[in-house]
């Protein structure tokens, strides 16, 4: 193997206390990893503070996550990661229905309602890419100007053309398998001749069976005709390298980083478990990028260090240090409080934790928008049984979908949506296949051969459609803090207020209508039902629906054109604090109908160019700390 092996530079408190870094980064997820890699490769000394543990970087540590997942009764997104009361992560099984007007503070994420949000993120080295699915569609040009075009949400301070080259950089970094043709067909522009680094993941047999009945059929909406086409999704998953990539130079997928001499990152082999863990590490996660950062030997990692306060020089508004609480053992609240000093500070702890840390530091920004405009993708699920066995539960969780309704004039009245065809069956909606086993054994009184046949009949035909619905920025959806609610280390806990506006509820109603048409056209038996006792249940025009969170937290420090309409500029630099960058999906003014990770990675590549200029500037070169 030609690549140099990774050596992680773990540091102790003493080293951190005695060093003034060029850059201090809070959070070892994908944003922090991209920034650390880019800036260290250009000669800067970087410190990363990570709230969670570091064991992810060892092969043994990763294997322990796999085993924890195997033995977890609840196999939710955070199932592989042991609970850590010193840096808790939200978990969907903890969420329960809210009582109107009452705050639910039983779990880390304090729910203020009116709707309970079950989205999670993961506070470990590698961040939420340690559990993400890996779907990486670009946003479409209209998504960058929804206020201008549709009178909804916010406009970006940049257009698609400006971010397009950085999408290519991000797609290289993440190692995307995808079909440019499929994406072009749904309205995503690409540079002439561009191909993704790797060829698209082959569509599942289920995709093919849906496409046979659905492709080229049409649906009318507001006098416009929308054609249904099943198209593959780009994904951050090792596939077959594309020979035409990079002017025919091809592409070699990154291997996983590990401090042990095993760099493991195989081609996808159909483990059917992209979320939360790919056991052969075919799925990209931020450890790959962290590995490149560590190879520069200019990056220090201090794990189990929870940032608690950003310290500001009141005279010039510069950040002077990040205060953090360092613990030795997640079983004990014992910790040491210390500070990390540097010239440039990058807060990359995700949209919720970034807002929490800023608010805990008294930083509300001139615009007052820190923590406001919280976005996520509310998902509506619809599920049915295909007429014949499709062998559901094989392959990557999702290989294809229908993107006809990602753009159109209807966005003046109702939100856009994209449809995923789930290869993993009804699990997200009903708890299948476990729920099927329990029902067939406990209630249907089947055993032996009858049991086996019943399982095939009920699981192998499952079709789950997930409707990802656009949610525009709205200041009343927000993350806040309150001294009443702190965690075991005494850090503020995030308080979430969340609602789904009528603009989106109308899309739930419409999406349900579309789901019925799809089931009718595919001959699938519609088994969808929404339970009023579900925590995501709400009504619209007399009909009930259930939403699920998309784990795509965004918007809590939006970028914009000036300090009055936004928290950061288009480089994700704080308007109020010249040496402070707030990076990640929190900067995004809209999220359209795209999973956020690819776009936030592209934004980080834009930011690092500006960070380099800042670090060389007179003002920061001699920054007095």
């Amino acid at each position: 193997m030609s690549q140099k092996q990774t050596s992680v530079q773990l540091v102790d408190l003493q080293t951190v206390a005695n060093t003034t870094y060029d850059v201090v980064i809070v959070g070892a997820g994908i944003s922090g990893a991209v920034v650390a890699k880019e800036l260290s490769e250009q000669g800067n000394q970087v410190l990363i503070l990570e709230a969670g543990s570091y064991k992810d970087l060892t092969l043994a540590g990763f294997q322990s996550y796999v085993n924890t997942f195997y033995t977890a009764v609840e196999k939710d997104n955070n199932a592989p990661f042991p609970r850590n009361p010193n840096a808790p992560s939200p978990r969907s099984p903890d969420v329960s229905k809210l009582i109107p007007g009452q705050t639910d503070a039983r779990n880390y994420l304090v729910q203020q309602g009116p709707l309970a949000l079950d989205s999670s993120y993961t506070r470990v080295t590698g961040g939420t890419t340690m559990h993400w699915e890996g779907k990486t569609p670009r946003m479409i040009p209209d998504d960058f100007k929804t206020r201008t075009l549709h009178g909804q949400g916010l406009d970006w301070p940049m257009e698609y053309d400006e971010i397009m080259p950085y999408y290519r950089i991000a797609e290289n970094e993440l190692g995307i398998s995808g079909s440019v043709e499929d994406q072009k067909a749904i309205g995503v522009p690409f540079k002439e001749g561009y191909v993704y680094p790797m060829q698209n993941m082959p569509p599942s047999y289920l995709d093919q069976k849906v496409a046979e009945k659905l492709d080229d059929t049409k649906i009318e909406l507001n006098g416009e005709t929308y054609q249904l086409e099943v198209k593959t999704f780009p994904q951050a998953r090792n596939g077959v390298p594309h020979p035409d990539y990079n002017q025919g130079k091809g592409f070699i997928p990154d291997k996983l980083t590990s401090v042990h001499p095993v760099e493991y990152g195989e081609r996808c082999q159909g483990n059917a478990n992209c979320t939360p863990l790919c056991p052969v590490q075919a799925k990209y996660d931020a450890r790959r990028t962290l590995g490149k950062a560590f190879r520069t030997n200019r990056v220090h990692l201090l794990s189990q260090a929870v940032a608690s306060k950003i310290e500001i020089n009141s005279e010039n508004g510069h950040v002077t240090a990040v205060q953090f609480k360092h613990y030795q053992d997640s079983d004990s609240p014992q910790h040491t409080t210390a500070t990390a000093k540097g010239r440039l500070f990058v807060i990359a702890a995700n949209a919720v934790e970034n807002a929490r840390l800023l608010l805990a530091s008294g930083i509300k920004s001139t615009s007052g928008l820190v923590g406001k405009n919280l976005m996520d993708h509310p998902y509506m699920l619809a599920w049915g049984l295909m007429p014949k066995a499709t062998g559901t539960m094989r392959g990557p969780i999702c290989t294809s979908g229908i993107s006809a309704f990602r753009q159109g004039s209807f966005r003046n009245q109702q939100a856009a949506f994209a449809i995923d065809i789930h290869n993993d069956g009804w699990g997200w909606a009903t708890g299948s296949p476990y729920s099927e086993v329990l029902d067939i054994v406990n209630n249907k009184n089947k055993y032996g051969q009858e049991l086996r046949q019943e399982l095939i009949s009920r699981i192998s035909r499952q079709l789950l459609l997930a409707f990802m619905i656009e949610l525009p920025a709205d200041p009343s959806n927000q993350i806040a803090i309150d001294p009443k609610y702190t965690d075991r280390l005494g850090n503020y806990r995030p308080l979430v207020s969340f609602n789904v506006p009528d603009y989106c509820r109308q899309t739930f109603a419409y999406a349900r209508h579309v789901s019925r048409l799809i089931f009718q056209r595919t001959g699938a038996e519609d088994c969808t039902h929404y339970d009023p006792t579900d925590y995501g249940y709400f009504t619209y025009k007399g009909e009930g629906y259930t939403f699920k969170g998309g784990n795509h937290y965004a918007g809590t420090h939006v970028m914009g054109t000036n300090k009055h309409n936004s928290v950061v500029d288009k480089y994700q630099r704080s308007w109020d604090h010249k040496n402070l960058y707030l990076v990640g999906a929190g900067s995004m003014p809209t999220i359209g109908t795209s999973n956020t990770t690819l776009t936030l990675a592209a934004l980080c590549f834009i930011s690092t160019e500006q960070m380099m200029k800042d670090l060389k500037s007179q003002e920061l070169r001699h920054a007095v700390v």
Binding site: T71, N271, G391, I456
Partner: protein, 160 residues
Amino acid sequence: MSIDRSQLMKHFLDFSVVVTGFSKFNLQGTDQVAAYYATIEKVVGDEILAELLRTFHRLAEQATGNQLIMDRGMRTDIFGSEKLGPIARNIIKLWYVATWYQLPQSWRDNFGVKENDVTFVVSPQAYPEGLLWPAIGVNPPAAKAPGYGTWSSPPVITLR
């Protein structure tokens, strides 16, 4: 191992074949027979487990290969027994998803709360051996991957 326990272990394997619909060969191939036996013993105690397996053995001897008689006996004396039914159903679940599910409240009220009777997955080794996955022609999620692109092919299982 005492002669009695080794005899009961054999009954356990025979019982498992009948309730799971998988062959003795398949079940032994999971390498979980002893682990599951020990798990059940640890949760409900050896007496109840022995009662279940002796009941099964008696039914099998009486049925002398007659499926109808066996099914009636299984349904009446085992699945339809207030004491043995919930344990028999739990053994099916154990085989299918490697999980012991806490017994129903009514069982606990009538036959006593057992200290180890909580819902748990037996072990990281047991999880990939669940019979659910071969039953529906797929790999256990996150284990035993079938290979790149296999998901594009028609399934091997069929509806009857």
